[in-house]
């Protein structure tokens, strides 16, 4: 009976309305309880972590991660990607199925699970394809993928282009109560685009992707969610108009949830002025007004959660002309620092809302038994030093890739220990 006691930290667990200095006792990988009485009532533990000054929260869940394996192991593998997750404070990731082959069969799901088990790092929840071969023509074998353990469905990387197929997917997934994670983009409007369409793209002569390319598709999918009663989760909302559409849909009672990425509440299209392909991603960096709207949407809960859209690309792929370089930005190892620095320390949101957005709600949307420190819960726990000031250095990343534009940035707040099922899987080395 191995016991772990986490003493004296600020326990923030929105799932049970907790925010105060408590001890957390873990036995055999499960939470025994959270108490203010400390070790006296809980008894002697095999291992004790002094969490004084730290935030102790249910393990963070990133519901939007590209692990690249199988097929693009030069960018990331399940092992390196999940190590990056642990270093970023995530105890669970949901891996997006735009792999090669795409995750559209039971055997591919099984492969991911086996690789993850072998890596023995964090939990990997599998997102299955909406369409067979991610081709957008017919539904994948969603029921069998659910049996294999898929927690949600997505053709991310691309939108589900056929409106009828999207309608069927939303409708069909109702019987499994699984969400469709939607990449929202009208491809004719964004064709050839490398950045947000606006004054900056005009001046730089770069082809733009208008906000409307995202918003038109969000509007379509909300309408389809409402007509079917299916669960729509809007991925990486990047525009003020997108936030407004989701807010209005929620007000009408539609079964819609949404996420925002740290780069979309931190950076703007002005960053492209240096022509650095590390600032190229889809959806693109938008304007300061959009950044403001994303932060407001996270604060009022319109945007339920923070997800990274961690999208590794090998260095040589990004060292190309801006229009040939692939879309994508690393996210796992900077998400906590950016969120604390940009949202909490600026007073936009409090710690309980941050943990809700990074743990409670993504776990709830995916329907996985994580995101809580209730007695009996699996002991996935993240310890965050809210005051740690650190400098981002891509050379120290666990990820296999280095495509982060935040290299050299100074951030506040960092995970210092990541515990999965009661085992300490990551500890930040003292520097």
């Amino acid at each position: 009976m191995a016991t772990l006691l986490i003493r004296g930290g600020r326990v923030v667990d929105p799932s049970q309305g907790l925010d105060g200095v408590h001890d957390v006792l873990v036995r055999d990988g499960l939470v025994v309880g959270v108490g203010s009485e400390g070790a006296q009532t809980i008894g002697k533990a095999d291992e004790t972590i002094d969490a004084t000054g730290l935030v102790v929260c249910p393990g963070l869940v990133d519901m939007h991660v590209h692990l690249r394996e199988p097929g693009r192991e030069e960018d990331e593998t399940i092992e390196t990607g999940t190590r990056a997750a642990l270093a970023g404070g995530f105890t669970s990731v949901a891996c997006i199925p735009n792999t090669e082959p795409p995750i559209d069969t039971q055997s591919t799901v099984e492969f991911i699970h086996q690789k993850a088990a072998r890596a023995d790092t964090c939990n990997v929840f599998v997102v299955g394809c909406v369409s067979r071969d991610r081709a957008g023509k017919e539904l994948a074998d969603i029921g069998q993928l659910v049996e294999a353990g898929a927690v949600a469905f997505s053709d991310d990387g691309a939108p589900v282009y056929d409106a009828e197929l999207m309608r069927r997917a939303l409708e069909y997934c109702r019987m499994f109560d699984k969400p469709i994670l939607a990449h929202e983009e009208v491809l004719e409007l964004s064709h050839g685009g490398v950045m947000h369409e606006g004054l900056v793209s005009l001046v730089l002569g770069l082809t733009g992707m208008p906000a409307a390319a995202e918003e038109v598709m969000i509007g379509r999918d909300i309408a389809l969610a409402e007509v079917t009663g299916g669960r729509l989760h809007v991925m990486h909302v990047s525009t003020a108009g997108g936030v407004a559409l989701v807010r209005a849909a929620k007000a009408r009672g539609a079964r819609v949830t949404a996420e925002a990425c740290p780069h979309h509440f931190t950076l703007t299209d002005e960053c492209l002025r240096g022509f650095d392909s590390n600032f190229k991603m889809s959806p693109p960096l938008r304007t300061a007004d959009d950044v403001e709207a994303i932060m407001a949407g996270l604060a009022d809960g319109t945007l339920d959660c923070i997800a990274t859209d961690h999208a590794p690309h090998a260095r040589e792929k990004k060292m190309l002309e801006l229009d040939r370089a692939p879309m994508g930005i690393l996210g796992l190892e900077t998400a906590v620092g950016l969120s604390v620095t940009r949202l909490v320390n600026t007073g936009r949101i409090g710690w309980p809302r941050l943990i809700e957005a990074m743990s409670t709600l993504p776990a709830r949307i995916l329907g996985v038994n994580r995101g809580t420190l209730r007695p009996g819960a699996i002991a996935d726990i993240t310890l965050i030093d809210p005051n740690l000031v650190w400098q981002v250095d891509v050379r120290k990343f666990c990820s296999k890739s280095v495509n982060s534009p935040f290299h050299g940035w100074t951030l506040t707040g960092r995970a210092v220990a990541t515990i999965v099922a009661g085992r300490v899987k990551y500890r930040l080395a003292a520097s």
């Binding site: 064709h191 050839g192 606006g198 004054l199 005009l202 001046v203 730089l204 002569g205 770069l206 240096g274 022509f275 040589e316 060292m319 190309l320 002309e321 801006l322 229009d323 040939r324």
Partner: protein, 334 residues
């Protein structure tokens, strides 16, 4: 006096860079220096005809990832007029077609000891990325629809030759602004020299957003012709468009071609420019292209003068050499 008797000291210095990447980020003084240097070279070469030796021993490489005859020839001639050796490097015949990245290609050329890279590329910002990776000078000869600084300079140079100072002049840039690097370089250069810029064309090619930079936007050529001192007629870049931004060439020409009839309502001393190649009958009719107010052939000659000036300032002048040395000492970009 034999041409070779000019010593390097006879030409302007004071350019603190090894590159010419765009006009947007240059100061007014730097643009004036470029224009004055071009004028000095035009004079010293008696109209760009005689040869000098101020760049003897230097090697310039034309690294063209996109087809060009006019600009590449102009750069080559300008370099040779100054005594430099010139290497032409066309992407189609190179290792790029074997999958090498443009940065590796350029680094290889640098390792062969070239002194400056003149680069044309279909993607905006490629010269800027090269400049980050190379220690030698990089001259932008057109990066997609972004900028074409020597074209902007030679247009402005041609206007300046005819009317002196640009301050207070009204210059209309007409046509495919969306896809025109010439328009962008002209716009920045003209604004910095105090000219008033009007961008004119259909809304699908001329965004209202340009107003945020302080330029005027018009969709009505007839309305602006009488107010302009200069009209620069830009080519429709059919090759850069996904979907045609106007119903037909016929309709475009009807609305935006500079015709004899429109010329009648212009100021008498209106100057007409068109960066080649021109589509006669689309943006300008033949009689206007060949009319006395047309500076189209002056532009070509002045292109040599401007490129001589740019090559001198970026890879001959003392300032450029100091910049290259300083960059080398800083070490390369990671």
């Amino acid at each position: 006096m034999p041409a070779t008797s000019f010593e390097p000291d006879a030409f302007p210095d004071g350019w603190g860079h090894r590159n010419l990447l765009d006009l947007e980020r240059l100061s007014t003084a730097e643009i004036r220096l470029l224009l004055d240097t071009a004028a000095r070279f035009k004079e010293a070469t008696e109209g760009c005809r005689r040869k000098l030796s101020v760049l003897t021993g230097r090697t310039i490489v034309n690294l063209f990832f996109e087809n060009s005859t006019r600009t590449r020839t102009s750069f080559s001639l300008a370099a040779r007029r100054l005594g430099a050796d010139v290497v032409d490097f066309a992407a189609s015949s190179s290792s790029l077609s074997k999958g090498e990245s443009f940065i590796d290609t350029a680094k290889n050329l640098e390792a062969m000891g070239v002194d400056a890279v003149v680069v044309r590329h279909a993607t905006p910002g490629t010269p800027h990325l090269l400049a980050n990776h190379l220690s030698v000078g990089v001259i932008n000869a057109g990066d997609g629809p972004h900028e074409h600084p020597t074209q902007g300079l030679l247009d402005i140079f041609s206007i300046r030759e005819h009317r002196g100072d640009l301050a207070g002049a009204t210059v209309g840039l007409v046509g495919d602004i969306a896809h025109s690097r010439t328009a962008r370089s002209n716009m920045w250069g003209l604004m910095k020299l105090g000219a008033k810029v009007i961008l004119c064309g259909p809304p699908t090619l001329v965004s209202q957003r340009w107003r945020e930079l302080g330029v005027e936007v018009s969709h009505d050529l007839d309305a602006i012709v009488p107010r302009c001192d200069v009209l620069n007629l830009l080519r429709i870049q059919f090759e850069r468009q996904n979907t045609r931004p106007f119903p037909s060439v016929r309709e475009y020409a009807h609305l935006y071609a500079m015709t004899k009839e429109r010329l009648k309502r212009a100021k008498r001393d209106l100057l007409i420019l068109a960066p080649g190649p021109i589509n006669r009958g689309v943006e300008v009719t033949a009689e206007v292209a060949d009319c006395p107010q047309s500076l189209i052939l002056d532009q070509v000659t002045n292109g040599l003068a401007v490129r001589m000036g740019v090559l001198w300032l970026t890879c001959g002048s003392r300032g450029s050499q100091a910049a290259i040395t300083a960059h080398g000492q800083q070490g390369r970009v990671v």
